[in-house]
């Protein structure tokens, strides 16, 4: 049983453990960070602090609509809702499409899922994918390290 914030990503119903959530806000202007991996949409100013913004669409391509696979995910932009999470002192804003509700989820025995998320159900038995925020951050961190070591130049 886990208390979560539920959001939409494409047609998928996703969730993040409330313990990691610091706040939800609307993005201001996003400054791109050239040479950073694609998952880093940029950095934003949140009350004077510089917060990296991740594109969850980019990080979780497999949970999206099976539409046109060549279509790149829409860019993260000012006005998008973001969920700011904090894990081990690292604060990042996760750009999502829509923030839906706060609810409680139960684990399902279903074997599907990935390193980055696992399937859960809510009280109305709706399938909801719980994002493993720590794993997402670790994966992003690895990508950033790779980019920092080589870079496209």
């Amino acid at each position: 049983m886990v208390n979560v914030i539920v959001f939409s990503l494409g047609r998928a119903r996703m969730a993040i453990d409330l313990r990691h959530v610091r706040e939800v806000f609307t993005l201001g202007p996003v400054t791109p960070v050239p040479t950073a991996p694609g998952a880093i949409a940029g950095v934003v100013n949140l009350r004077g602090a510089v917060i990296p913004t991740l594109s969850l669409r980019h990080l979780l391509p497999d949970v999206q609509d099976p539409g046109d696979p060549t279509e790149p995910p829409p860019p993260v932009k000012a006005g998008d809702p973001v969920i700011m999470v904090e894990v081990d002192g690292i604060r990042v804003a996760l750009a999502v499409e829509r923030v839906d509700e706060v609810t409680t989820l139960w684990e399902t025995p279903a074997p599907e899922g990935s390193e980055l998320y696992a399937p859960f159900v809510d009280s109305r038995a709706r399938r909801t994918l719980l994002v493993d925020v720590a794993a997402v951050l670790a994966a992003t961190r690895r990508e950033v390290e790779r980019a920092g070591a080589v870079g496209p130049y």
Partner: protein, 795 residues
Amino acid sequence: MAPQSGDWDPEEAAVLRTFFLEEAHDHLENIVAALMGLEALGETAPGDRPPPRSKELIDELFRKVHTLKGSASTVGQHLVSEAAHLLEESFVRLRAGQMGLTRATIDTWLSATDLLRETVEAVDDERAAAAVAQLRHELAAEAVDGAQRAAAGAAALAAQVTAVAEVAVERAGLPPLDEDTGERELDLSRAGGPSPMQRQSTDGNTLRVEVARVDELMDAASELVFDHTRIDRRAQEIRSALRELDDVSAELGAAFGEVRAFAPPGSEDLIGRFGELESAAIGAVAQLDRAARALVDDAEALRRTAVALQQGLTRVRMMSVRWLFARLARPLRDLAREEGKQVDLITMGEDTELDKTVVEQITDPLIHLVRNAVTHGVEPTAARVAAGKSPSGRVTIEARQEGDSVYLEVSDDGSGIDPTRLRRALVGTRRMTEAQAAATPNDQILASIFEPGVSTRQVADQGAGRGVGLDVVKQNILRLGGDIVVASDLGAGTRFTIRLPLTTAILQALLFKTGGQVYAVPHVHVSDTIAVGRVHGRVPSEIEWEGSRLAVMAFDALLGLPAPADEARAPVIVLAFGDRQLGLVCDKLVGPREIVVKTLGPLLAPLKLYSGATISGSGKVQLILDVAELVARAPSLAPAHDATSLGNDDPEVTAERLGIGEVTGEALPLPRVLVVDDSRTMRESIARILGGAGYVIETAVDGREAWDVLLERRFDLMVTDLEMPRMGGYELIARVRRVPALRSLPIIVVSARASDPKKSRALELGAQLFMPKPVSRGDLVKQVDTLIGNAASTR
């Protein structure tokens, strides 16, 4: 006080542990200081009359170790308590005069203290506590009587405490000891322990605050400044709308007058109502205008408060260098012992303050310099005596503040650096030819010790190589925005002078635009701003600048962005980092700014290209570039066609270079414009308009400041307001025109009230052009282009 850890709930225990760690570090440092103080008093044999000051120091040792013991047991850290107790016990024999004070015992106690520190950091372990019991048992057996036995006991104690500490360390899951340095890498921030700053003095009326909290306040304070900018902009918008409204109501009034003249009889009531409405509108406009002015004043008050808050918080981040100096004593002493030399450390200016971040980052370079001074500077005792010097050498560290800089000087009275040997080494490593080395003055030869690889082992063996790792020291200092120079007198000693910025929280930066984004580079690394012509849309890979060749790199290409297609001339920022230079091509120069530096956070830290970020007046994040990383990515210059150089003279390479040489003539300095206005909004908006048009902008808040700047630096044009505090526009123009060198400087006056007498007076005094506020972007750029073009063609 509750003696058991079980009495605390987990949260309380965590808080207490933090407090305890802070306190324990204070005690440990005091113990080390007292031990080193004892050592300085000289050796004694058992039963000797103790030196006069020793009682005080021994009492201090007792107090500290005893307090540590008590605190440890209070928070349930019994392992630490036991270890402290063992140390205390061994001090008892010293106090009782049962043992002499030898260097060996001090050594043992110092390392025992180190081990105690490790135990402190690896707290809470029951199995380790059992090991302590064992330790006490063995120590009791060991410590029979007599000085020799006591010394051996202390050594055993050390070994046992090591065992205990290692068990504790293992249990606590800490990283193992570094085999080379004997140090343990501990991430104290993650362990919830204190940062070095937090374990400064415990005396006095002080408050310990986590650095992160201060940083949060800094963020909030800088956000207030941005709030001001936004409010100010809104107020200006309101005022300009009001001016329009004023004009409209005046026109309405005039039109109404005409209507009245032709009004048919019987419409008096209607006309009367119109008149009332007209005066009501005028009254409302005036009232709104007053409110808008008051709003501007309030915003300015807000800005001042915010700036004061920012400055206050910057002060909070400062710490005295006393702690830094204290950290140097130990490595110096250990190394001197190892080398069998006598070296005294003398510190001066301990109360000088530096930003905490700077202190943290300068500690290792400084330790390196001190170690170098002991190893390579101070001679062995015999050599010193033979040279007629005092047997013990001196290493002096002095700190002092001058303006926005702090100077740290590390000097020794050793043998100095031999320029002859250094020359030989430079020739030997093929860095210079014999002739070049002979022709280079001593100070430049000396400066080469900061170059990577100069102090090879071979050179060091010749006694000239003071510079083992000095290139790294210099890199670290440059990264902080500082610099280091060396001076040396052969036979008399060497002095390293480090200049550091007072703070790294505020940075003087040059802002530029590429790919639609604004980036910042620290001004301290900017040598010049020039322009180069593009050939077939591309900039050359090298140009000639100030008589030498400069590698050029397009920033957009570095970032993987497309180059702007239509620009013929590209602005180039000449960056210098140490002895490396790079011309960085950007789309547009924005201008110099004072910026507040923010971290990009741990996630983006691996991107070495950025050293941080700042937030613009409109609240947008702008990235700060790491100049060290940029110059490291600079393309290497093609080998020069130069008979004296050691490079090859492949004809193809030469031809390529000559081809590039054709465009080198186009490296022109960008025109510089001085903007003088007491309104920040006006200054900023004019600076942005002209900066966007490719001019380099400096600003001044009034005539007085402008006058000072004009006498110091060259400008191609000045834009000034008329009414300003201290010195107004008329006086400034009159003064400028009296100076022959400035007589041809084009001047544009931008003024709110465009009355004819004012305009003609400004033009009479020598301004070229009068533009009423608000100025339009297109007009201003056109006029500035024309005036600068005219001035250039008549020169």
